[in-house]
Structures are given as C-alpha cells and as structure tokens.
C-alpha cells in the first residue's frame, strides 16, 4: 500500500469512528487528540529540532486558562469583554497570549545551550504552574468551573461525538501543516538544528530564528489543546498543567517516535490506551488493594525503550513497508543567479589574520588572496592551522586580529550566515551532512538563501513553485558532481568520499562566487579524483574563485594555479605549484625531522 492509501484508510477510520465506537472509546480518542496536539509540538521541538522542553503543559495551561477566564468572568472591561462572548473568539486570544508568553520565554531561554535549556523549561514550567494556583482571579488551586461548551451553527458540542470531530479536525490540520513545513525550505533549516547548526549557519540559515519558530509553533499547538481541554472538561484547575504532565507529554513523543510527526499520534494513543488498559486489568490480577498501575506502566516503558529507542513509529514503518514513495524530482525553472565578479578581480583578501585560542596562536599574520577564475591551494602539515583559517574566513570563528575582505567589503566579525549571503560557500573537513536526510534535501539546504518562502507559506503549501525550483537546482548540482543515482538515498548511507562530494554539491547549490573546499579529495578513488579535478577546472573556467585545502600533492599540483604553504600557523611559502615544490622550507616542513 502506498503512503497516500495508508493515510486515506486512516482518515476513513477516523471519520467513521463516532458512528460505530462505544461512547467511552470516543472519550479516549478525544483525550488522545488533545495529547497528540501537544506531543506533535514536541516532535517538532524536541525530536526534530533537538530542543528538549518539559514546559509544554504550562502552555496548555495558558491556553486553557485564557479561554476559561474570558468566558466565565463577569464584568470585564468593555475592550476585552466582547472576546468572552464565544469560545470561537477566545481561541485566537488563547493562541495569541500563549505565543506572546512563549516568545518572551523563548527569547530568554532558547539561547541557553546544552542542558541549560531543559532546566530552563522546567523552571518556567514550574513557575507558571504555581502561578496558576496562586492567582485568585484564576480560581486558585480549587479551579474555575462553569466554562461554556463550544457551539457550532447553534449546536452545543456537549456530546463527545461532536466534540470528537472538532478535536480531530484540529489535530489533522496541525499534522498536515507540520508535515508540510518539514518538507520545505524552512523545514530543512529546522531539521538541521539538531546536530547541524554550524553547517546550517554556513549555508545562510538563521538558526536562532528557526529555533524560535518551532518553539512558538509548539506553544501554539499546546494552546489549541488547552482551549479544547477547557471546553471539553468545562472545568480548569492547575493540576493538569504541572511538571508531571509536562514530562508525560515528552514521554508520549519519545515513545511514539520523537523524530516523526506520526509518532506524536502513536505515542499519545499508546500511552492513553495503555494506562486505561492497566487500570482495567491490574485490579483483576492483583486485587483492588494496591496501586500497581504506575509501577507496571513504568516497567513497560523501560522495556519499550530497550527494544525501540527511537520510539515505536520506526518499528511500525518497518512492519508496513511503503511502496511508491516519491522518486522523481519534478523539472522546474531555474533559480535566479547572482552577478559574478569579473574574471581576474580579487574576490577574497585576508590581511594579517591572527587567531588565538587562549595561549595558543593557531594563525599568525596570515595573508592571502583569491581571484575570480583561480584555484588557490592551501597546503601544510597536519595542525598547521588550515582549517582554523577556513573557519576564520567563513565567520565560524572570528579572527582575533586582522582583516578579511570579500568582494570588496569587510567580513571579519560578521556571522557566517551573513558571509554566506554575500556569496561564499564552503565544505567541511569533517563531513557535516544530516545522515538521515536524503542527498537531495542535504544539497537543497545549500540553496537556502536562494528561496524566500516563509513558515506560513510552507505550512499551507503556498511555496510549491519555489520549492520545485530549489529541488530542481539541488538535483542539477548533484548530477553535476556525478551522484545522480544517489539523489534519494539517505546521505549517511553513502561512502565517505561520496559524502564529501555531496558537500561540494551543497556548496555549489548556493551559487557562490567563492568556494572553499576543505580536503575534498580525501577518501576518493583515483577516477573520482579525476572527475573532481575536471569539475573544479570547469568551475574555474566559469569564473569562480576556489580556495582549496588538500593533502594529496598530485591532485593539488595538477590543479592549482597558485599554492600557499602553511606551517605552525604561519605562511612559509607562496607561489606557482612548481616554485613551491622546490622551496627548501616547504621540503623541510613536509620532511622535517628526518635528518
């Protein structure tokens, strides 16, 4: 069965549910829907984006309390009172307020690195929870009752069967939008957050913005869930929004499969049903005197994680292999290209660059320049400071002193995505590909700055024309480097040499004026090296400037127009390949210590 058929079958079952299922199953499905919305946000935030949050329950709380307060409080001032007239008006209010709070918290805590972030989310999650309980106009610890039911076309959705459709409509909309978002230019940037942030920045992605975007989306989903909860339950008190529940949402996402949107649904469903099942079954086995549910539940979860640490969705995917996944890149028109500098003009100029790490001087007064239509090779023994110089030029690590000029403007001190925007693109010495993403998507990240489709447009699939052009461009670059048959393979499944080549394709997808290649030939076989040399030669002829770090002397000497030799962070020689080869200092550097 194809993916589409699976989805259609799922939707059909979902739509038929209320007509055939017993009442309580509908109740459970309603709760599953509410939980799935929050878990979906966590899939985006934690599973895809790598940002662990324990605080989602607090966002659910803000959504629920906003609607509860507005619809039950009498005598509100006129400028807000009109919102409380109908839950349909409080829905946007709940989302807006939650997103606003999330924006403040996100700006404060998303910059937290490593393990500071999860603790940050615990901190504000706890603060908000205790705040709910201590604010008297929110009903304190006791809670707010008398929240009205939602009406649709004059029908009060008191019956769980009607509410079911409302909940699942929202869940499916959120699923659809999330799925779309992840399958887009912005989505690729989001997927690069986890383990690929340095690379993404070098391709022009504003990773801080991407983090905030997914944080706000997750908060909005939580707010919708809270709004639905308030009007389903028609009573709100602080307990459903505490840290324990926040942890449980994370639980659902991870058990289901935090890296997959359907994992959220699976996790929410599984945990809700499992708990229910244990509640029914255990008293019959152990008798009614003890409370064994939580113990057995915990043990089962440990067992599941031992067997499927990526969650259960990947396991299910393997059981039901998909047929007919998309295997073709639609042809599309070309992307705009930047104006290239005139051949022979200076593209890059490094002047007296110094880089110190503590007491260690990695680069000492390095100067070099690259012209359009020229290949400059940077060679030197291991540890000479070549990669440091690369990072310094591309803005990954700003220089301690000295200047870097690119296309006539100073770029030292700029963020790497800013430098990328000006037309510099690079590869990394240690391959930085997203192993589970396809080669095509990896390369498309390189073209990030050549598109402009926003998050909303992506979620609603309004940027498909541009997306088609981006993918077509990526496919063209993959073909150009000779990996056409691997377009849809996972990047991690390729041989190391091929992965380096994918990095080149990604850099080319940015349509750069200057290309920085860090050991592109390492791990390539002889014929592959020849092909690479041919490609680089062609690029040079098209007028591109290329700065190349390479150890393979045959490769370098056959290809480079000029060579710069580094040792101990300093330049020891510069010139034509044959000049450098004869330089006694260079021979000493490479063969030194033999005497």
């Amino acid at each position: 069965m194809s993916a589409r058929n699976w989805v259609v079958a799922f939707l059909a079952l979902l739509a038929l549910g209320p007509l055939v299922l017993p009442e309580f199953h509908i109740t459970l499905l309603n709760y599953i829907g509410l939980y799935a919305l929050v878990a979906l946000g966590l899939v985006l935030l934690t599973g895809v984006g790598g940002l662990t949050s324990f605080g989602q329950a607090a966002f659910v709380g803000i959504g629920a309390y906003t609607s509860a307060y507005l619809t039950t409080t009498e005598g509100l001032p006129d400028f807000v009172a009109w919102v409380g007239v109908s839950p349909w008006l409080t829905l946007p209010a709940a989302i807006l307020l939650t997103v606003a709070v999330a924006a403040v918290l996100g700006l404060l805590t998303l910059r937290l690195s490593g393990h500071y972030l999860p603790l940050g989310t615990i901190a504000w999650g706890m603060s908000l929870y205790f705040l709910f309980g201590n604010v008297s106009f929110l009903g304190g610890h006791t809670g707010v009752s008398g929240i009205p039911a939602i009406s649709l076309f004059g029908v009060e959705l008191k019956d769980g069967r009607y509410f079911y459709y409302l909940i699942w409509l929202m869940v499916l909309a959120a699923l659809w939008a999330t799925q779309n978002l992840l399958d887009s230019r912005e989505g690729r940037a989001i997927r690069a957050l986890k383990g690929g942030a340095v690379m993404a920045e070098a391709m022009g992605v504003d990773t801080a913005r991407s983090k905030l975007v997914i944080f706000l989306i997750a908060a909005a989903f939580a707010a919708v869930s809270g709004w639905l909860y308030a009007h389903l339950q028609r009573f709100v008190n602080p307990t459903p929004f505490g840290l324990h529940i926040g942890i449980e949402y994370l639980f659902m996402a991870v058990i289901g499969g935090a890296g997959h949107v359907w994992g959220a649904l699976l996790g929410a469903g599984l945990i809700t049903i499992l708990k229910q099942w244990l509640q029914d079954l255990l008293p019959r086995i152990f008798g009614a005197s003890g409370n064994f549910e939580i113990i057995v539940f915990g043990l089962l979860m440990i067992f599941v994680l031992h067997r499927a640490r990526d969650g259960l969705w990947p396991v299910i995917r393997r059981l039901a292999p998909l047929r007919g996944a998309r295997r073709k890149v639609e042809s599309a028109g070309p992307l705009g290209r930047r104006t290239k500098p005139a051949a022979g003009s200076v593209v890059l100029e490094v002047k007296d660059a110094v880089k110190k790490f503590g007491g260690l001087t990695a680069n000492n007064h390095m100067s070099l320049s690259v012209r359009a239509g020229e290949i400059l090779a940077l060679i030197g023994p291991n540890g000479a400071g070549k990669s440091t110089l690369f990072n310094l030029i591309t803005g990954v690590d700003p220089p301690t002193a000295g200047e870097v000029h690119f296309l006539g403007g100073r770029v030292d001190g700029l963020a790497s995505r800013e430098i990328a925007r000006r037309g510099m693109s690079r590869t990394f010495q240690h391959v930085r590909l997203l192993a589970t993403m396809s080669v095509l998507e990896n390369v498309a990240i390189g073209a990030h700055l050549r598109g402009g489709g926003g998050v909303m447009a992506a979620a609603l699939r309004l940027e498909r024309a541009e997306e088609g052009r981006l993918l077509a461009e990526a496919a063209r670059q993959i073909e150009r480097v000779g990996l056409a048959e691997h377009v849809f393979d996972a990047a991690g499944s390729l041989a190391l040499g091929q992965q380096r080549t994918v990095e080149i394709a990604r850099a080319l997808a940015a349509d750069p004026s200057l290309l920085l290649l860090d050991e592109p030939a390492a791990g390539l076989r002889y014929l592959e090296k020849q092909a690479l040399a041919e490609l680089l030669g062609r690029l040079r002829d098209e007028g591109m400037g290329i700065l190349l770090v390479e150890h393979d002397m045959d490769f370098v000497m056959g290809l480079a127009d000029r060579v710069v030799v580094m040792e101990f962070g300093e330049k020891i020689a510069e010139g034509l390949p044959e000049e450098v080869q004869g330089n006694p200092d260079v021979i000493e550097a490479y063969l030194g210590g033999v005497d």
Binding site: L131, G195, I302, L305, H306
Partner: protein, 345 residues
C-alpha cells in the same frame, strides 16, 4: 526582618542547601560517567529514610523485597545472556551477588531483631539495603542502553522514577515518617539556636564532599571514573569498562541519596514521594554547575537553599514561583559564560 531572622533563615537555607549539594554531586557524577540524568536520585533519599524508619518501627521494609526482586531479575537476565553467548563460567559471581546478597540481607532482617539494635547499626543496615539498588537499577534499566542518546536515557530515567515512586507508595504508604535525631544537643551561637542534627547534616555533607574529592583525586577507582567522565572511548581503550564505571557511579549515587535521606529524616517528615522535589533542586544546582563542575554545583545548591528559605519568609505561597523564576537569569548567565560545543550526532 532583623538580623536574627536573617541568620535563622540563612541557617535553614544552608542546611537544605547541604542536602541539595550532596544530591547535585551525585547527579553530576552519574551524568558525567553515564550521560544519564538520574531523576530517580530522589527516590533513594526517600527509600533510605523510610527503610530506617521501618526498622525502627519494627517492620520489614519493602525495600528488602525490591532488593530480592531486582536481584532475581538480574540473575534471570544474566542466565539468558550467558546461555546465548555460551559464557557460563562468568555466571557464578553474577549469580552469587544478585541472589546471595539479598538472601543474606533477608536473613539478617528476619533472624536478627533490627528494632532493638543501636541507631548506628540500623543506619548501616538501611544503607546495606538501599545502596545495592543503585547498581541493580543501572544493570537492568540503563546498561542495555549504553550508546543511546541523552534524551532516551532521560526518558528511561522518568520511567524508572515512576516505577520507584509507585513502589514507594506500595511499600511505605502515603503517610510520612520521622526518625530520632542522631544528637539531641543544641547550641546557641550568636543568639541563634543550632541543633545537633543540623550540624550533623552540614558536617556530614562537608565530610562527604571532601571524601569524594579525595576519592576522585587519590584512589585508582576514582581516577578511573574521572577518566571515563572525560573521555569514554579513551577510558575504554585504557581498559576501564564503561559498565563497571557506570555501576560504580550508581553505587555512589545511591549511597549519597540514601545517606541524605537518613540525615534529613530527623529534621523533617519524609514521604514516599519526598525525593522528587529535593532531587529536582539538586538537579537545578547540578545544572548551574554545568553538570561538570563540583564546586559550582555545591555553590548553586547553597544558593537554591537560601533562595527557598528567604522566599518562604517573604511570600510563602509564591515560594516555588520565586525560586524557579530566579533560576532563569542564573541559567542565562551560566550559559553565556560557558563555551558550548555543538553535539556531534
């Protein structure tokens, strides 16, 4: 607020902070060696205190059954593994420990009469009952996930926490317990009464911290743990097994947790679920220390203790709001002052 009140609040904050510091040290240790964020740390606090209280009430504490149960579970796992790999020779010691030790413990509890023994012996017995649970939990829950991501290990921790809290309720009931003080003495220092037990808490924490320091600096085992914490692969190449280091770190964590519980049981009531919030505050301190630095974690713990104590005076209803809100700027400051290296996946 006058000086005396400030002094009393500081004393209270430091006593609580000392416990948080101990837990923070254990959390830092466990994380550094195994990458596990050990949420169930708090359960060992409760288990330690309530096991001791059980002995004093003349009951058989449920932790004994847990010890026997976990031992049996490990024995089964080891037998299955040994059968599959054919390495039956190594089985003897594993079975001896996991079946023999609980059997001996059970014999002591049932044949002896712990209720009539002196406090010190009861404490030792309670520790002997609870500490082995640490490495046993490691063996069953974490060892099979040696290479899993931090997130997965964290979720396993949550599951272990849920299980242990559930067992705690089953073993000890919902009501709390207290144990008699180690010392009934009290002193007056600068107009502030200091009880002997608070000195015990602060003193024991300080001694433990020094002992841990010496352990890590001087002993071979300690050095091995540090090596594992710094570089897992390197340590393995040097013949230090990750699982041995992991087990050892869990022994220490369980011992620190149980001892913390035994120390505070005379000054507060301990419940089956007391551990979570104490552990959480230890966790806060540990993170402030970047899950790497012991002195900063200890300082963070004292800070959390003081924050709590003073905010419960100013606005007791908002205590947690104040504590957790004030943690955020500390986190931001710590985050900005530590260099973050992108995790390579």
């Amino acid at each position: 607020m006058d000086l005396q009140i400030a002094l009393l609040l500081s004393q209270d904050g430091i006593v609580n902070g000392a416990i948080y510091a101990l837990l923070a040290l254990a959390l830092v240790l466990v994380f550094a060696v195994t990458r596990v964020i050990f949420i169930p740390q708090g359960e060992f606090v409760a288990f330690g205190a309530l096991t001791l209280a059980g002995f004093q009430a003349g009951k058989v504490p449920g932790t004994l059954w847990l010890l026997i149960g976990l031992g049996a579970a490990i024995a089964i796992v080891e037998v299955v593994i040994a059968m599959r790999s054919g390495a039956l020779r190594r089985l003897t010691s594993a079975l001896g420990w996991n079946l023999g030790y609980p059997a001996v413990a059970a014999a002591v509890v049932f044949l002896g009469e712990p209720v009539s023994w002196p406090l010190f012996v009861q404490v030792v017995l309670a520790l002997a009952m609870v500490v082995p649970l640490g490495p046993m939990v490691y063996r069953l829950a974490y060892q099979p996930l040696l290479s899993a991501s931090v997130l997965v290990l964290l979720i396993v921790s949550v599951a272990v926490h849920l299980t242990l809290v559930g067992l705690g309720l089953l073993f000890f009931g919902a009501e709390g317990s207290r144990t008699p003080a180690f010392s009934e003495a009290s002193f007056e220092i600068g107009g502030v009464v200091v009880t002997g037990q608070t000195l015990w808490v602060v003193g024991a924490s300080a001694v433990l911290i020094v002992v841990l320091y010496l352990f890590f600096e001087r002993s071979l085992w300690g050095k091995a743990l540090r090596a594992t914490a710094i570089n897992r692969t390197g340590a393995r190449l040097m013949g230090i097994s990750s699982t041995q280091a992991g087990k050892l770190s869990f022994v220490l964590a369980a011992a620190i947790g149980a001892l913390s519980g035994i120390l505070i049981a005379p000054i507060t009531t301990v419940y089956y679920d007391t551990g979570f919030l104490i552990g959480l505050k230890g966790f806060v301190a540990a993170i402030v220390g970047g899950l790497a630095s012991y002195p900063i974690a200890a300082a963070g713990a004292i800070l959390v203790g003081l924050l709590e104590s003073f905010s419960s005076f100013w606005a007791s209803a908002f205590k947690e709001v104040i504590v957790f809100t004030l943690i955020i700027p500390v986190l931001v400051w710590r985050s900005l002052t530590t260099r973050h290296v992108e995790e390579e996946e």
